[in-house]
Structures are given as C-alpha cells and as structure tokens.
Symmetry: C2
C-alpha cells in the first residue's frame, strides 16, 4: 500500500515515518508554496533516513492568506492550521492509498479532529492516519532519544521545512525581519540529522 | 524500554503490538478477573505472534460490578468501559516504562480521553500509548488484511479473551445463558490465529 506522509524534516514527522514504514510504502512529501527553497532541508533528512521524497506543490495564495492571518492575530496558530489543512487536501488529491501527518496527542496546532479526518477520507476515498496521535509528549521524547539524531536551536537558526519557514519569509518581505519576532513566540525547534 | 500492552487476542490489540514492537520490548497482558480461563486463548495468539505474555490479575468485584451494570443497562457499553479503566490502572501499577492498549479512532467503547491519558501518566509516572488511535476503520481493516490471519464469527462462538468472555460468564451464572443475548447485541468478533 502506498502512503504519502506530510513531512517537515522535524522529529514528529520523522517518527511518524518510522512507525509506518513496516506497513506501507512510505513517500515523504514536503509542502512548497513557491516562496523559498526550505523544502530542500526536508529532502536532506528524508535522504538520510532512507525514504522516497517528493515536493507537494501548494497554493501560494493560501500561504499569503495564512501570513496575513498571523500578522493580524499576532500569533501563528490559526495561520499554521490554515496551511496544514490546505496541504492535507493537496496530499489527499494525489493517488496514495493512505495519507498521514505527524500530529501528536498533545499538539495544540495543527490539529485534525475525528470529524475532519472522516471528511477527508470520505471526500477523497483515502485513509488518513495520524500515527503519533496516541503518543503523549513524554513518549515522543523517549522515542526521539532512542531513534533520532537531532539538532536543537532557536527557530530562526534551524534550517527546516515546516510551514513556518515560508510564512516567515512572506512576513519578513511585507513588514521587515523584525516583524517575525512579534508574531512567532521565541521557541526552539528540532531538525533531524539522522535516524538510528 | 519495556512496554505492557493490554491484550485480548483480537485484531486491534494484535495490530497495536505489531506497531510498537520495533520501538519497545513488548509484553502482552490479558486481564483476568478470576471468572473463567478465557485468558488462555489470548496466550495462544501471543505465542503464535511471538510475544511475551502475562496474565494481568484484576479485581473480581469490578467484574461483578460491570456485569451488574450491563444487566441494568441492557447493553454492554458502560460495563466494558468500567473494566477497561480498571485493567489500565492495574497495568499502570506494574513496572513498565510505557503501557498501551488497542483503542482505535472510531471506537465507541472502550475510550480513553486525552485527559484520562494524562491523568494515568501523571499518577503512575508511565507513558500511556494508544497506537491505533490515529487509524480509522478502513485503515485498520487494510492492515488486518495485510498482516493477520483471523477467524471471524458470532461472539458466542469465538474463543477469545476480551472482557466480554468473563462478563458473559458472570451474567449467565446469575440469570441463565439466555440473558446474554438480551444484553449483548448480536455481533461478530475476530480471533487472530497468526501474524504474517
């Protein structure tokens, strides 16, 4: 069975890939809104982990709408949710038997409710799987420690390909680099360098 | 890391074991309320699948309380939830690093909410994992088809070790065998005979 996994190069979506690889032919796909080349960081991690990789072309208008939303809100949650929902729809339109993402039990954003999952499955005739949705933070941390080599650092210094990278680029282009710090709370992100 | 998985010999908990076996040292544990020897069916499936197996001693009073509840309700849902919650507490009291069960995204019973999961983890200093909670019915069916050999039949003819077996025994002893049909809707269950 062919499965397409929405992939950022971060620890959650990498763990999701490891959980599924014995059961599906897994392809990792990274959303690309045409703004920056950050998707290449995810390709490097996918190569290191030994997975097939594709770019998932997404609508630049959705990224601009999400960036506008983040600038209005002053925080990223709703904008991130918007691009995640769009990326899942794009992924569901491909010809995979199943699609998946790295959402976890304790994530605040992005989230996919049971009703949203069922709707995605019914409209696209595809299985949607969230392999980490039954894992809490402590269990995820233990698996990361056991299986992944990671680099941790402030978001602005870590090269990865989650949605933030392109949304940050849009916001910086519109309002200048200093606007990023206002919209994105200072947090640390991880970039997976290898899989054990 | 040592993980104890609440196990019935059915397809859901067997799939849960397969999903976790690359990441944890998995022991399968079947609840035993001292009523019948149905736990032995789960041991046979665990042996066929190549997993370590233990009996999980549970409180007979809880089984009787659950049976009473089912007789009063006329349907099994609340009684099954009661014994599942009790069995998880017993399992969390053991010395595993993580515990797990086979609850799925689309299950109506038993369920473990995010708040219940967090409470279990905090009180027992253990990770609780529901590896199938991100899989819908169609995805589970596809994995069963790919990986498990199963026997399907009416509940009363299938030898397995889910909670129903012991609760049925209690109800039959109290009210006679005909009472079982009144409380348990006619449904088909699966018993896993082998793992591919």
């Amino acid at each position: 069975m062919e499965l397409g996994l929405l992939y950022s190069g971060g620890k959650d979506s990498t763990l999701a890939a490891l959980l599924l690889e014995d059961f599906y032919d897994v392809t990792l796909l990274t959303a690309h809104f045409g703004v920056s080349d950050d998707w290449k960081h995810a390709r490097e991690t996918a190569d290191a982990a030994g997975f097939d990789f594709e770019r998932l072309e997404c609508d630049p208008d959705v990224a601009r709408e999400a960036a506008d939303r983040i600038r209005e809100d002053g925080f990223p949650r709703n904008g991130i949710q918007l691009v995640h929902t769009h990326a899942l729809e794009q992924l569901a339109d491909r010809s995979f038997d199943a699609i998946a993402d790295g959402t976890r039990r304790d994530d605040r954003v992005p989230t996919v409710s049971r009703a949203q999952a069922q709707s995605l499955e019914d409209r696209h005739d595809v299985d949607y799987i969230a392999p980490l949705s039954g894992f809490g933070r402590s269990a995820v941390d233990a698996l990361v420690e056991a299986r992944l080599d990671v680099t941790v650092g402030p978001s602005e210094e870590i090269d990865r390909a989650d949605y933030e990278a392109e949304l940050r680029s849009i916001i910086a282009a519109e309002d200048g680099p200093e606007a990023i710090a206002e919209c994105f709370p200072d947090h640390h992100q991880t970039y997976v360098t290898d899989v054990r």
